[in-house]
């Protein structure tokens, strides 16, 4: 098997530069690449475009990069939990492209799959379709959407092996599998890095071919955004 392991986030982020386009997995704070985000803050990479469903909260996730004004542009579907984000957006400091969540996922998937463009009904007749080609199929209007082009994808998986094979957990899966292989370099941090051969080939969500670098993450906080519970009995 082809070995993909690197030692840590620092090594995994080798080659990243100001102005690049980054994909980041996660939905809210669930399944985000915490170690890589910390490293992006530490490196103080500037002027990046981030493709990520959400923008974190003020003091966690992508919110950390927003605080330090490292982000030039966000491509997201929902950014409602972040006051600093809203401030930077309304003031014009931050460029924001809001797109439908399914379109976001499919544009990642298309990039992974070498499909340059596809049609979706989402957003037809709304401002997200402005400037885009639209076209009728089966009596219904659709919008043409393109595959994303990104330099790095930062992925959080649950388990991974040294060949880059990945298994995700629960709803921490979300955009992570769709972003693997959707950028020039896919970097994966895992909660548990196991030797090649330890994962059942039938249970692998993402084969290692979509991964360039994988490392054992540390100190996962896994912050809960909305703690909702019920009482027993």
């Amino acid at each position: 098997m082809i070995t993909k392991t690197v030692s840590n986030a620092q090594e995994a982020c080798h080659g990243i530069q100001d102005g690049m386009t980054l994909m980041l997995g996660g939905f809210g704070l669930c399944g985000i690449p915490e170690n890589c985000i910390t490293e992006l803050v530490r490196r103080n990479i500037k002027d990046v475009t981030c493709i990520s469903n959400n923008a974190g909260v003020d003091d966690f996730g992508l919110g950390l990069l927003l605080q330090k004004k490292q982000i030039r542009k966000m491509v997201s579907s929902y950014v409602g939990e972040n006051a600093e984000f809203e401030r930077q957006m309304l003031s014009g400091e931050l460029e924001v492209e809001l797109i439908p969540q399914g379109t976001l996922a499919q544009r990642c998937q298309a990039a992974q799959s070498g499909i340059p463009a596809f049609y979706t009904p989402a957003g037809y007749g709304t401002e997200v379709a402005e400037g885009k080609e639209s076209r009728e199929f089966n009596g219904k209007m659709h919008v043409m959407e393109h595959a994303f082009k990104a330099d790095f994808a930062f992925i959080k998986a649950w388990k991974g092996d040294t060949a880059g094979n990945l298994i995700f957990k629960g709803t921490a899966r979300n955009f992570n599998p769709n972003m693997c292989g959707a950028a020039k370099i896919t970097v994966v941090e895992v909660e548990e890095l196991v030797p090649t051969g330890d994962l059942d080939p039938n249970e692998i969500h993402i084969p290692g071919i979509f991964v360039q670098r994988i490392f054992q993450g540390i100190h996962y906080e896994k912050r809960i955004e909305q703690l909702t519970t019920r009482k027993k009995g």
């Binding site: 969540q101 037809y124 709803t171 979300n174 519970t229 019920r230």
Partner: protein, 218 residues
């Protein structure tokens, strides 16, 4: 008496049929799950990647890797499945979800809906709403009949940026159940004690009232 949010959810729950896969939006729609009859088979889909969503976890049993699209901690029922975002929207875009219930800021009498942006003021984003309304064949909007300023949310034409065009078929508000047909709002049911006149007054768009309008049953 106008309904409270729970009562709106309770009325909508009656629209949930046996065998339905249902996607619930944030807010009032989320409450619908609490009122679905338990003698029918229904599964809730949350677009962040779970089918077979269960109730909130017991205190201390919450799992940060298990949330719904509102970022709330949830549980998975036996028979649930997890999947990625592209597959989740395969379910939605591919019309495998039977019923979509979501909130709105405005609905127009041609079925247009606006619920994601107030220019210059609020820009939270559309999340999965644009995919849902563009593809769902069966959409119910759950909302208050008027906004906080007392202005009608059922309009001739939406004033806010649209989420989708000509897609809403049914609306349940605190005052009424309405259907959209032939570019008009048809009044189907009144909230208990609410008069047709009150509903007319609260509806900016064209409202059709045919025959006597029954009160909602719960």
């Amino acid at each position: 008496m106008a309904l409270d949010k729970n009562q709106i959810a309770q009325r909508i729950a009656k629209e949930v049929k046996n065998g339905y896969y249902v996607n619930l939006g944030i807010g009032i729609p989320t409450l619908v799950a609490n009122f679905v009859r338990n003698d029918i088979e229904v599964e809730f889909q949350s677009e962040n990647g779970i089918l077979g969503m269960g109730p909130f976890p017991y205190e201390g049993e919450e799992d940060p890797d298990l949330i719904n699209a509102g970022k709330q901690t949830i549980t998975a029922l036996p028979g649930a499945s997890f999947f990625d975002s592209a597959m989740s929207f395969s379910m939605i875009r591919g019309q495998h979800v039977d019923l979509t219930i979501l909130g709105a800021m405005e609905v127009a009498q041609n079925g247009d809906i606006a619920n994601w942006k107030i220019p210059g003021k609020m820009v939270k984003g559309m999340g999965g709403a644009m995919d849902l309304v563009a593809s769902a064949e069966n959409i119910i909007v759950a909302m208050m009949h008027t906004n906080k300023a007392g202005e009608s949310k059922l309009l001739h034409q939406c004033t806010l940026p649209l989420t989708g065009v000509q897609c809403v078929k049914k609306i349940v508000t605190d005052l009424a159940v309405l259907e959209i047909k032939d570019y008009q709002f048809y009044l189907l049911e009144r909230a208990p004690g609410v008069t047709v006149e009150e509903i007319k007054a609260a509806t900016e768009g064209d409202l059709v009232v045919e025959g006597s309008i029954p009160e909602m049953q719960f």
